[in-house]
Symmetry: C2
Subunit: 355 residues, 2 copies
């Protein structure tokens, strides 16, 4: 098929450091190319891909010192893709609401994977008004705030990663430490991760970015705790660093306190053979089976108890769990089914101008 | 004609207090209705209009305490208008770059009035990439940063207001004070207005909003000067208050220090019969003829000298100047010509999907 992948411009595809959505788009795009599809990737100009690359801007926006207006550049990206929509059999958008209006205006089927939390107004208002827009959720739990709205859900497709390319470490956590990975924001509860590590007496390595809106929180709540001998903060890491960091860890701590739409760090850990100790919010129970590839626990006491039992988890089982359920192959199979379904339909209503 | 007017959602149409773009859209829309056109206004739900109103959100966003995401709601607004574009003979957008991609995707002609400054990257990048988008500038000077880019300029249309509805005060400035009107931001130079008023020994009434990004500037540079007995700050004003305030003033001080794209306050003052003392940046020389309806002056010394001579200006002449050049009738004539030109053309290229 001729497939357009429309990525956000905030990070390159794949991201150089942190970046969930663009990382998943990268994995999916390269897998679709490998399967023989003709894929065009709309993404920042510093992206690396096996697809044809079309770029509205030369650099990823988050790390661009010029801080250009992201909405102007995403508007340009959408103009670039939709003014040539008939070059494609399907257009797959990952830019959330910004692309919603376009599917009504072109003959090519358009499908949108929603990557963020969906419990926020006015997004709910927008979705309710545009309930014909074909949507893919990244977990079943992500949809919950929208239950009863009669939206046009096409599928849930869990994220998947190229497990075969991840070096598996199936000996038990050679590094003897715990890991916190992702964003330093209140809803990710880095403070809880620190509390658990201190209580259990194990080193904690924190590899995370600090976004502008999270700086106050980080300086006030987290920075003062970084002096503790067990706690090490290393900022953002590259993919290669991340696989080593996760692979040598006893467990990933994922003590979130929000409706996590997916939680990429969990499947990255599992692919390395590393169990996950998580609080059961959002999509977490869809990804972690308690007692099998990690533990679900709520309070600090329960989290501490879970970490103490983490050597009961079979690391090879974690790796297999990722291969069977969260590999890029499984994800691409599901998206191919979505594309076939959309492209096989009689197509969206032509814009009324052309009837 | 069947005309769609697409307004920003930041302020109601017309705005309750400050708000340039939405005020102009209001004047234009009601005049087009008066002339017998079938006009649909896309704007916030608290707008008041003689046109048919379609609203993506019930309240103007700037004063909505919920602070909803403006880009999500403008996206919804654009979906609302463009999914029914064939209901209109022309679509007239006032939302800057956000609407640029849509004209290529519908058969109805779309024209965009640009209301802001155009010397900013990445807007220049976006315009360069989308140079087929039909554009209207609000002054000739507004286009200057884009000279040589071969964009699709359709016209310059100066703003106009319903002069007949403005109470004219053609006696010389009964209130005996100067006025500063608009935004408290560095580029508007409220500090210069204060310096001039103090030097010339006349009261200065400052009617202006303080935007979030301008708060630091206001607190640091302006607030400490408000204790002076000649300087009075009254915040934002309604239309009725504004006409009285301007009408009774000796002159409007407009000592700007940026490429002002138009400068609505100047024509509001002229409509009241009040001369304008302005620094000659941006569109100012297109609006104020030096020595005839006010003075152009640069330094504080020159501005002070100009204020001292302001009783030489014929206030009835100022009012006539506004009537002849900056009335809503003149503006509507010009936009009608733009609409006829666009609607009379063979139409934009059909999207390639439909060839």
């Amino acid at each position: 098929m001729r497939i357009a992948q429309v990525a956000p411009l905030y990070e390159s595809v794949p991201p150089r450091l942190y970046g969930g959505t663009e990382r998943v788009v990268s994995w999916l795009t390269d897998e679709l190319v490998r399967r023989g599809h003709e894929v065009t990737l709309f993404a920042s100009g510093d992206s690396r891909t096996h697809a044809r690359l079309v770029s509205a801007w030369p650099r990823a926006l988050r790390l661009d010192p010029a801080q250009p207006d992201p909405f102007a550049l995403h508007t340009l990206e959408l103009a670039q893709i939709f003014s040539r929509a008939d070059d494609f059999d399907v257009v797959h958008c990952h830019v959330d609401y910004l692309a919603f209006p376009y599917g009504r205006l072109v003959a090519t089927p358009v499908v949108h994977t929603l990557h963020g939390r969906l419990d926020l107004r006015p997004l709910i208002h927008v979705l309710t008004e545009l309930r014909d827009v074909p949507l893919v959720s990244i977990s079943d739990s992500q949809r919950e705030p929208l239950a009863g709205l009669d939206l046009n859900w096409v599928a849930t497709v869990h994220h998947g990663l190229p497990v075969a390319e991840v070096p598996a470490v199936t000996e038990a956590g050679r590094g003897g430490y715990l890991v916190f990975l992702g964003r330093m924001s209140a809803e990710k509860r880095p403070d809880l991760a620190i509390a658990v590590a201190k209580r259990v007496g194990l080193p904690l390595i924190m590899a995370a970015k600090v976004d502008r809106p999270d700086r106050d929180y980080f300086e006030r709540e987290i920075r003062p705790q970084l002096g503790h001998p067990l706690i090490e903060y290393i900022g953002e890491v590259s993919d290669a660093e991340k696989w080593r960091l996760l692979g040598d860890a006893l467990a990933l701590l994922f003590p979130i306190d929000w409706p996590e739409p997916f939680g990429l760090a969990m499947i990255e850990a599992l692919a390395c053979g590393t169990p996950v100790v998580a609080r059961p919010g959002g999509a977490v129970p869809e990804i972690i089976r308690d007692g099998e590839v990690g533990f679900l626990a709520d309070t600090v006491d329960e989290l501490v108890a879970a970490v103490k039992r983490v050597d009961l988890i079979d690391r090879a089982r974690c790796r297999r769990w990722a291969e069977e359920r969260f590999s890029v192959g499984v994800m691409a199979d599901r998206y191919e089914a979505v594309y076939r379904k959309k492209a096989g339909q009689s197509g969206p209503a032509f814009p009324r101008s052309f009837r």
